[in-house]
């Protein structure tokens, strides 16, 4: 790549992907948001406030940790973990909610809404809403409410109202539908904090820019600790915000391979998975054009993953673009493999990863042994596994 990467275009397109596919009532608020975002993106006072919050409230920079024992055990590349699990609220999600909440405050919005799958984005949103004294409503599929009850309780403690969505498949996509319906109804006072790099423009670019701190830090830390750039980046991809956050600052460094790991659920061949990039096709959902899991008639199909955070039939449009251009590679990991990744990291390094992040760990276990010992992989450890204790125990037949 000789030209500097500069996506999306001003209408929010990443090649054929992205865009602004929304009902008319949402056009004015999206334009208002875009204007505010463009203004504050370069506003020194806004940046200073954001940086201070990330440092003193979130706890950044997060460490880049050399997993020496695990690297030795796998016998190949040196594995470095970007420790987003150590952020306040336990995942990378807060990097974005802090940014969007500061925008909401400057735009004079008094009410925050969000959708959530695993509950990490809901918790991160409820957290910043509590801190800024904003009303907060979180939409969550009824199925997810049941399997992530701990996070539901956390959100309630933080003062958020959690609405269990009973329509459609009762998971993340339906929570997004319901949040969009709320937004269209309460458009004057409400700010919609989308948790991933999807939705209509400017969300995919804006969320990426807030998450890009992951990659900026990792790049600097890798230089400081090893004196060079990594050879490969690995991150899990549901909507894809932690992955794009890690990848984005490296896009112009063509020697760095970028690998996104989708959830293969019971296996791609079973159809019970959440891997649109690996096994879907382009379409339009939730405001943007991207790869989707759909049937021949264009109806969105139900997805499956052990990890609620990856259980989504779409993916950020920038990932669709990076796939088509070949700049990033997308692979998939089954539920069973993810659990192996979960246990491996827990036992080898004393770090319990989220089930979402475990997909990246599982792929790293395949990749590292194929690489040389002086090569470097940075893996995004996007969240910690505390929230998944119930799911794990249930899966292994243990009563807590």
């Amino acid at each position: 790549m000789t030209e500097k990467y500069n996506m999306p275009d001003e209408r929010g397109h990443f090649g054929p992907y992205g865009g602004m596919f929304v009902a008319e009532t949402l056009i004015p608020p999206i334009q208002e948001l875009n204007a505010a975002y463009q203004q504050y993106l370069n506003d020194p006072e806004f940046i200073a406030e954001l940086d201070a919050d990330l440092k003193y409230y979130v706890g950044r920079p997060s460490p880049l940790y050399h997993a020496e024992r695990w690297s030795r055990e796998l016998g190949g590349a040196q594995i470095y973990l970007k420790r987003e699990d150590l952020n306040h609220t336990g995942a990378h999600k807060i990097n974005n909610t802090i940014g969007q909440a500061l925008l909401a405050k400057r735009m004079g919005k008094t009410r925050i809404i969000a959708e959530t799958g695993a509950g990490q984005h809901g918790v991160a949103t409820a957290t910043v809403a509590a801190r800024l004294g904003l009303e907060c409503v979180v939409y969550m599929g009824a199925v997810d409410v049941a399997r992530q009850s701990l996070n539901v309780y956390r959100m309630k403690l933080l003062g958020a109202k959690v609405v269990a969505v009973e329509s459609g498949s009762k998971t993340l996509k339906d929570a997004l539908n319901e949040a969009l319906r709320d937004w269209v109804t309460n458009v004057d006072n409400t700010f919609y904090i989308i948790g991933t790099v999807a939705g209509p423009h400017p969300y995919p670019a804006m969320v990426r820019d807030f998450q890009a701190i992951i990659g900026r830090e990792a790049k600097q830390q890798c230089q400081d600790q090893t004196g060079r750039l990594p050879d490969a980046l690995v991150a899990c991809v549901g909507g894809g915000s932690n992955a794009i956050g890690l990848f984005y600052p490296f896009i112009d460094d063509s020697s760095v391979k970028m690998i996104g790991v989708e959830a293969a659920g019971d296996g791609i061949e079973t159809g019970r998975h959440s891997a649109p990039l690996c096994a879907g096709r382009p379409g339009v959902l939730h405001g943007n054009r991207t790869y989707l899991m759909e049937d021949d008639d264009g109806e969105i199909v139900e997805t499956h993953s052990i990890s609620a955070g990856l259980d989504y039939p779409g993916v950020g449009p920038e990932h669709a673009w990076l796939k088509d251009t070949g700049r990033a590679e997308y692979v998939n990991i089954t539920d069973t493999e993810a659990l192996e990744g979960f246990h491996a990291l827990t036992r080898m390094e004393g770090i319990i990863p989220a089930l979402e992040s475990s997909h990246a760990m599982a792929y790293t276990m395949k990749l590292a042994p194929t690489m040389k010992k002086d090569e470097i992989i940075i893996v995004c450890l996007s969240g910690r596994g505390d929230k998944d204790m119930q799911t794990m125990a249930q899966r292994e037949g243990i009563e807590l």
């Binding site: 209408r11 865009g19 602004m20 596919f21 929304v22 009902a23 008319e24 009532t25 056009i27 004015p28 608020p29 329509s167 459609g168 996509k173 339906d174 539908n177 969009l180 319906r181 269209v184 109804t185 309460n186 458009v187 004057d188 382009p282 379409g283 339009v284 959902l285 939730h286 405001g287 054009r289 989707l292 759909e294 021949d296 008639d297 264009g298 109806e299 969105i300 199909v301």
Partner: protein
């Protein structure tokens, strides 16, 4: 002249307003829709909006969401909706049929294949909720080349600039979404609609149909008189939902409600 343009011209000559029922194709069963369309014309419908069911109807309230789910349970699809419309056209050459839905089923079929199929089915207009003019160039060109009217939405918060944009991109009529919210919502304010319609009229000569949240004959009359027509959706679909085991009764109740609305609007 398109069938939609002719219909609105004829209405305007006689000083009448268009009554436009919306029903979801295939709700509660695929074989219910065609006889219902004919019955609605009998009851006084001037244009029929035929909803294409979609798995993720983001702009719809619970009533139309459930209609979509019932239709999809019977494997209703864009192709089958087009087949129903084509069948309707065999015995009714006058009443315009507008497809209303979301863009993804059209993307899945392919814009050009869809435009050709819509032309074969003699569809008169296409209203795609999540395809604003910014993203619609390709689709609009294909439709217009085949004499099909692309119909766009206007909202309470649409600026003059956007109204002009819709006027340029759209034809047939413009659909004014009468409230900030989803279909079937309960907070329609007719005074607000009147103010907004004055603003819209200043920027377009296209007919304006008004919908979202119109439930009874009196409101239908008030709203219809503010524009050129009124769209009734959730109020009709509620009748289907309440009589799923007795579609004939659902049809009777829909015909009654539309008849009462027709009478109120014309009086």
């Amino acid at each position: 002249m398109s069938r939609l343009a002719a219909t609105f011209e004829e209405l305007s000559k006689t000083g009448r307003k268009a009554l436009i029922p919306f029903v979801t194709a295939g709700d509660p069963r695929p074989d219910f829709t065609l006889p219902l369309m004919h019955a609605m014309v009998e009851a006084g419908a001037d244009v029929i909006e035929l909803g294409v069911p979609f798995s993720d109807p983001m702009a719809d309230g619970p009533v139309i969401q459930r209609a979509s789910e019932r239709a999809l349970d019977h494997k209703m699809s864009l192709r089958r909706t087009l087949a129903i419309a084509a069948e309707f056209r065999k015995t009714n050459q006058q009443t315009p049929v507008v497809l209303m839905g979301y863009v993804n089923p059209i993307e899945a079929m392919g814009y050009e294949d869809f435009a050709n199929a819509a032309q074969r089915a003699e569809i008169d207009g296409v209203l795609t909720v999540d395809l604003p003019p910014e993203e619609a160039d390709e689709c609009v060109a294909l439709l217009k080349a085949r004499g099909i009217d692309p119909i766009f939405l206007l909202a309470p918060n649409s600026t003059d600039e956007r109204i002009k944009k819709m006027d340029a991109a759209g034809s047939g009529y413009l659909y004014y979404v009468s409230l900030k919210g989803v279909t079937g919502a309960g907070h329609l304010n007719t005074a607000d609609v009147e103010t907004k319609l004055n603003q819209i009229r200043a920027s377009t000569h296209l007919p304006v149909a008004i919908g979202f949240g119109v439930k009874d004959a009196q409101t239908a009359k008030t709203v219809a008189n503010l524009g050129d027509g009124v769209v009734i959706g959730s109020a009709l679909i509620s009748k289907i939902e309440a009589n799923q085991d007795d579609p004939e009764r659902a049809k009777r109740e829909i015909v009654e409600l539309l008849g009462a609305m027709r009478q109120a609007i014309d009086s």
